[in-house]
């Protein structure tokens, strides 16, 4: 889990309003937080989703969808609007009834259980705080339903407020809070009763960019400290990559691919996944006679050669580079192109080039002095190099 250093991210994002928000301390070496961790620690349970079918009218929204979430995992459902991710979340929470399927939480079937018995915490897109209650009563609400004693309620609400860094704001009215504070109240309310699992429906979409980035880190840290099984819905691929243990990319009611973010990025299995996560160049190639060909050039690759037929080579802009030799050497593939435009972006530049077949590709590189010295101008012919190990092929559909 050291893909992204937490400190790094926070410092790069630390601008303007974010400075006002205190940073979460790492939990493990702090005795006080460990105590909190014990008092508000959702029992992490695995979720087993299988064979979910959902139709609205005649339209199939989810088709035979199956998915396993490990105990304590942070899983993100990522997809465009209409892909069925929110419907799946609603089915998990019990607000929408599936036509078929099974949902097991820690081995217990909950698909036919009414929402109020499911013991699932949920953070809504617009927070859904109760406007007629103050912060304290909002957070105490789930405890009140569970007939927790007044003294214990006060104690747990206090701890939850502390956990989301809203200590002392219990008497505030909801309409006196900023967007970020409302977000935290919603979060505290969703975890204060130690739910079996926590669901989040695009909880950060209403926040401005810098606050959103800050909250991503904070949510991520909170998850690490409390270890609750979390299902998170978003359409923002960057957010999904930042926060998740695994991402399930959804499209048209199905899961296209589910894997760790770095795998999804490096080895997308379908054109949809490649296009949805990160920027991609698609270059048509053909597989014949046990090799893959781009026009008359044989593509060197480390992965297995697919079945004969047309395929698309997925190339990330940063995996392309400008090479001097027109003839490939070693494990580098070379594709000739003509520069259309070069956009200077400070730390990096983007080069838009046209292949011989007229296809547009993008190349991105950092502005190192050796690269800058050889930067081509518009109209200049260039050679684009791709390492054999970066070649990823997907079906051309």
């Amino acid at each position: 889990m050291q893909r992204f250093s937490v400190r790094n991210c926070v410092t790069t994002n630390c601008r303007g309003s974010v400075q006002a928000l205190p940073q979460l301390r790492p939990a493990m070496n702090d005795p006080e937080s460990r105590e909190m961790l014990l008092s508000i620690a959702p029992t992490a349970l695995p979720i087993g989703i299988s064979g979910i079918e959902k139709r609205f009218g005649g339209v199939s929204v989810l088709r035979d969808l199956s998915l396993d979430v490990a105990a304590g995992e942070f899983l993100t459902l990522l997809g465009p609007s209409g892909s069925g991710k929110t419907t799946l979340l609603m089915i998990l929470a019990g607000f929408v009834r599936a036509n078929a399927g099974s949902i097991k939480v820690g081995g217990e079937e909950i698909i036919a259980m009414p929402p109020h018995r499911r013991n699932i915490g949920m953070v809504f897109q617009n927070y859904a705080l109760f406007p007629h209650m103050n912060v304290f009563h909002n957070i105490a609400f789930p405890l009140k339903q569970r007939r927790v004693s007044t003294a214990e309620t006060a104690e747990r609400v206090e701890k939850a407020l502390d956990l989301v860094q809203l200590k002392g704001l219990g008497e505030r009215r909801v309409d006196q809070l900023s967007g970020g504070q409302r977000q935290r109240v919603a979060l505290a309310r969703a975890i204060v009763f130690e739910p079996r699992i926590v669901l989040m429906d695009e909880p950060l979409s209403a926040l401005d960019k810098s606050l959103r980035e800050h909250m991503q880190i904070e949510l991520r840290n909170l998850h690490r400290r409390l270890g609750m099984t979390t299902v998170y819905v978003t359409h923002d691929q960057r957010e999904a990559i930042t926060m998740s243990d695994r991402i399930a990319v959804m499209n048209a009611g199905c899961i296209e691919q589910i894997d760790r973010p770095e795998v999804l990025y490096a080895a997308p299995k379908t054109r949809f996944v490649a296009g949805f996560i990160g920027d991609s160049n698609f270059i048509p190639v053909e597989s014949r006679n046990g090799s893959v060909w781009y026009e008359d050039r044989k593509i060197r690759m480390t992965s297995a050669v697919p079945a004969a037929g047309c395929h698309l080579m997925v190339v990330r802009p940063e995996k392309l580079r400008l090479v001097a030799d027109a003839q490939p050497a070693g494990s580098v593939n070379v594709i000739p192109a003509t520069v259309g435009d070069v956009i200077y972006q400070g730390d990096s530049f983007a080069c838009y080039a046209t292949l011989r077949d007229g296809r547009q590709v993008t190349l991105r590189d950092y502005c190192r002095s050796d690269v800058l010295a050889r930067l081509p101008g518009p109209g200049e012919p260039v050679n684009l190099g791709i390492d054999a190990e970066d070649v990823v092929l997907v079906a051309a559909d």
Partner: protein, 305 residues
């Protein structure tokens, strides 16, 4: 600062352009007042002046001399106190009946799919298109001794003697409730529609049963709409004339009927005006009380929207 005072040495110009800015602010205030003046004038002409005139009239007896006799009548004639109590009794009963019938109706409307809701809403509003007089007579036809309800019940053998439903207090309440119901349902429905469905989902998600969610979340959030509906219905009831006159069988005399009676009996506008002033004062006092009782809670929700 020191540099500034060096450049502008006289005391009057201590702050740069202060006078000009002050003058500009004053101009803007007058400009806004000028824009408001048609509205203010209208309010003055159609509300302040007539009420003031009403109050002025109420101070004169039939010989045209200044006297408190129009007000003294309340204490000399016990029938006025009776009418007053009857008026409030009817207003409370009708408001209560409207709440009991209107709340579930508004709730149902707010939960229906959009198309069905708009059709049902038309049905709710439909009675507005017929006159109050016609609707009251229709109720008379339905409720009287040989009316629809009594003949059905007798034919079915449920009762042997007709129920007294018209020409009494019950008749007035039934007739007025029907007329007042939309005034309660419409604001209530509007406020229920603004309740965020996610708030209700959150309630259930957090462990509240549907009934508990309704009680702890939906109902408190619908209170502002209920409050405005109740105030509208209550105030309209206080001034009602046609239905009690026709459905009350002459035994349920409400304030508006009394104003009419008194004005013609004493041949003096002041006599009726005094009744109007008293009703206005008591109504305002009640509304104040209402605001005080429900206001804090209701406005708490209002301001958050």
């Amino acid at each position: 600062m020191s540099m500034q005072s060096a450049i502008l040495p006289h005391a009057g110009a201590r702050t740069l352009n202060a006078d000009a800015l002050h003058a500009d602010a004053r101009r803007e205030t007058f400009g806004l007042l000028a824009l408001l003046s048609p509205g203010l004038l209208l309010v003055f002409a159609v509300i302040i002046v007539p009420i003031g005139w009403l109050f002025w009239l109420s101070l004169f007896d039939e010989t045209g001399s200044l006297s408190a006799s129009n007000y003294a009548r309340f204490f000399q004639q016990p029938s006025y106190i009776k009418t007053f109590l009857t008026t409030f009794k009817v207003a409370f009963a009708v408001t209560g009946a409207c709440v009991v019938l209107g709340y579930p109706l508004a709730y149902m409307l707010s939960q229906l799919p959009r198309r069905a809701a708009s059709i049902c809403l038309i049905l709710v509003i439909l009675p507005f298109w017929t006159s109050v007089l016609v609707r009251t007579y229709a109720w008379l036809v339905i409720l009287q001794r040989k009316g629809l309800i009594n003949s059905w019940l007798i034919d079915l053998g449920v009762i042997s003697q007709p129920l007294p439903l018209a020409n009494n207090f019950a008749g007035v309440i039934i007739g007025m409730t029907h007329i007042m119901l939309p005034f309660l349902v419409l604001p209530l429905y509007a406020s229920m529609k603004t309740i965020d469905i996610d708030c209700l989902r959150a309630g259930m998600n957090l462990g509240a049963s549907p009934a508990a969610t309704f009680r702890q979340i939906f109902f408190p959030l619908s209170l502002p709409g209920l409050a405005s509906g109740v105030v509208i219905v209550f105030v309209l009831c206080l001034g009602f004339f046609v239905t009690p006159a026709l459905m009350g069988g002459g035994k349920v005399i409400m304030w508006a009927m009394r104003i009419e009676q008194t004005t013609s009996l004493y041949s003096n506008w002041g006599a009726g005006a005094a009744l109007g002033v008293v009703l206005l004062a008591v109504t305002l006092a009640l509304l104040g009380l209402f605001q005080w009782l429900l206001g804090a809670r209701a406005t708490g929700v209002w301001s958050s929207r």
